[in-house]
């Protein structure tokens, strides 16, 4: 429990200070550009071609998740007049974050850093990817070229902010979104990725388990989504007018591509083509399917009909839930995680949301934050020593180590709080400077024509 005491509090305070430093020094670093000299080429490392092959493929798979996967998943759910604006968000974020990650994001997230900020952010040695040559290696991925690892992680940096859009569709200005996401990517995503995944990261050192991004990607995006939804307020007509999803066939394509791409996400997080990757793929498949069925049957019982939107939402909830667990649990754990995510996310995206009355439009919070938290906690319960880290992994509660569940809880709370504060500040700044929300008339007549000058038939 000690992590929740003052030590933990201080640590997270330092985190905010670290971000302050980041903002300040980024300007400087960018001005100087990067220490241009690539380090004198060390003897060429011997990469594993099989691991490299799988990570190249995984990178493609994770990119597929956002474009066109997420674009379609979200695009099919909004009203006809906002379809293009919605798919545009995913595509533009893909472009924007790619460039920012190249410029500074990767450096913040995945370099060592130094001194007191080291647990929270890296350093600027990879600004503009300087020094990343054919022979360079990131210590987190020793059997593959750094260029592959950088690009692979880039695809995670892309999808996370794109997920947030589920909460703010139909009403946020495109220009404001670009600013919001740009700042959020650098100031919230990169630090949290460092904290959780880098060897020096605060939560990594504590021993919080997050195989593929339950906290970094899903709780992070889901909480940011909720904050943004609350800040923006409801859509005009929400709850009174019918908001007919444009075309659920698009959403089904999107969900399917998310599923397929998620193999790259989870099994790719083994950073190699090995038994860990294989088991991660197996449990991902199992939890996803189980959650799809769980949501479907719950809805069938509660509402009388199993819907397409229901089963695909359940599958996505399962994918989210298994994400932190995928390198640590076995098929039985996966089944339980699947059921839990399917059932609980159903209620969080329907009953809970209606009860509390916020307009988390496409349930980025209700599915991603809730599912991510369930998965992160259950990772603490179901982690098996014989599964993690090539067989030398951390035990979870069922194997006697209940302390892991508390650790997981600290991870969840830490990420959620930091993210919420960071998101709120950024939103406020962008709101003051250029305004977040479109005009009432634009919202009423649709964003597609007003913001992008295009329409769908």
């Amino acid at each position: 429990m000690k992590h929740f005491g003052s030590a933990g509090g201080r640590a997270w305070g330092t985190a905010l200070a670290a971000i302050g430093t980041l903002v300040a020094s980024a300007g400087v670093a960018l001005a100087q550009t990067a220490p241009a000299a690539a380090p004198a080429a060390p003897p060429a490392p011997k990469f594993d071609s099989g691991d490299t092959a799988w990570m190249l493929a995984s990178t493609a798979l994770v990119l597929l998740m956002t474009v066109p996967g997420l674009a379609l998943y979200y695009g099919g759910m909004v009203r006809k007049m906002n379809v293009l604006a919605t798919v545009m968000q995913s595509f533009a974020i893909t472009c924007l974050v790619t460039v920012l990650w190249t410029v500074v994001g990767y450096s913040i997230a995945f370099t060592d850093g130094s001194g007191s900020t080291q647990p929270f952010i890296g350093d600027f040695s990879r600004v503009m990817l300087s020094g990343m040559g054919l022979n360079s290696v990131n210590s987190l991925a020793s059997t593959i070229p750094e260029s592959v690892y950088m690009t692979y992680q880039m695809t995670f940096a892309i999808i996370t902010p794109a997920l947030i859009c589920g909460s703010i569709v139909d009403r946020m200005k495109f220009s404001a979104l670009m600013w919001f996401i740009g700042l959020w990517s650098i100031l919230v995503y990169s630090p949290i990725a460092h904290v959780v995944w880098d060897g020096n990261g605060y939560l990594a050192k504590l021993g919080v388990l997050d195989f593929a991004g339950g906290t970094v990607v899903h709780i992070n995006s889901g909480v940011a989504g909720l904050v943004a939804a609350l800040y923006l307020g409801k859509r005009k007509g929400y709850g009174t007018q019918p908001f007919h999803p444009h075309n659920l066939v698009f959403s089904l394509i999107g969900a399917s591509l998310l599923w397929v791409g998620w193999f790259g996400f989870n099994a790719g997080s083994a950073v190699g083509a090995n038994a860990n990757a294989g088991m991660a793929m197996a449990v991902t498949q199992i939890a996803t399917a189980m959650a799809g069925l769980a949501w479907m049957f719950t809805e069938w019982m509660v509402k009388g009909k199993p819907s397409v939107l229901g089963i695909i939402s359940g599958a996505v909830a399962g994918l989210v839930g298994i994400t932190p667990a995928s390198g640590f649990v076995d098929p039985e754990g996966a089944l339980v995680i699947g059921i839990a995510c399917g059932v609980l996310c159903y209620f969080s995206a329907t009953t809970l949301k209606n009860l509390l009355g916020y307009d988390d439009s496409l349930d980025a919070f209700g599915v991603h934050a809730v599912g991510g938290a369930i998965g992160a906690l259950l990772t603490g319960v179901f982690a098996r020593a014989a599964i993690g880290s090539g067989g030398k992994g951390t035990a979870g509660g069922l194997e006697g180590n209940w302390g892991q569940v508390l650790l997981q809880l600290e991870g969840i709370v830490g990420v959620a709080v930091f993210c919420a504060i960071g998101t709120l500040i950024i939103l406020k700044v962008v709101d003051v400077v250029i305004g977040l929300r479109v005009d009432e008339e634009v919202e009423r007549d649709g964003l597609d024509l007003a913001l992008h000058g295009e329409t769908v038939p």
Binding site: M77, H244, P245, E299, K303, L309, G310, A349
Partner: protein, 112 residues
């Protein structure tokens, strides 16, 4: 000449068209519409939200017919489109002041 507007259930379209052809009707125009009436729709559910579908898909048939045919046309539509269930639709008849065939410029009954 009269202008007949019929709102029917979509799956009856082909039957009605054929029946009218049998009567000697040479042309008609069809559009997809949504109908609101006594027939109640089902409920669509999207995650938390439930919408009772107040508008049901219907098909609108419009045809101009010479006065002599009107009665039989209306009766034919009524009979063919009928299922006996609520929501079968309506037939309305309006007066036509003038009619022209675009291809030839013919006017009046010759335009049909």
């Amino acid at each position: 000449m009269k202008y007949v507007i019929a709102i029917i259930k979509p799956f009856k379209l082909d039957d009605v068209r054929e029946a009218l052809m049998g009567l000697g009707v040479q042309g008609l125009t069809v559009s997809e519409v949504k109908g609101f009436g006594r027939q109640k729709g089902q409920t669509e559910i999207y995650r938390g939200a439930e919408y009772s579908v107040s508008f049901l898909p219907k098909v609108k048939i419009e045809l101009a017919v010479v006065d002599e045919l009107v009665e039989r046309a209306v009766e034919t539509i009524q009979r063919t489109a009928n299922t006996g269930r609520i929501g079968d639709g309506k037939v309305f008849v309006l007066d036509v002041a003038q009619a022209v065939r675009i291809r030839t410029g013919e006017a009046g009954d010759a335009a049909l």
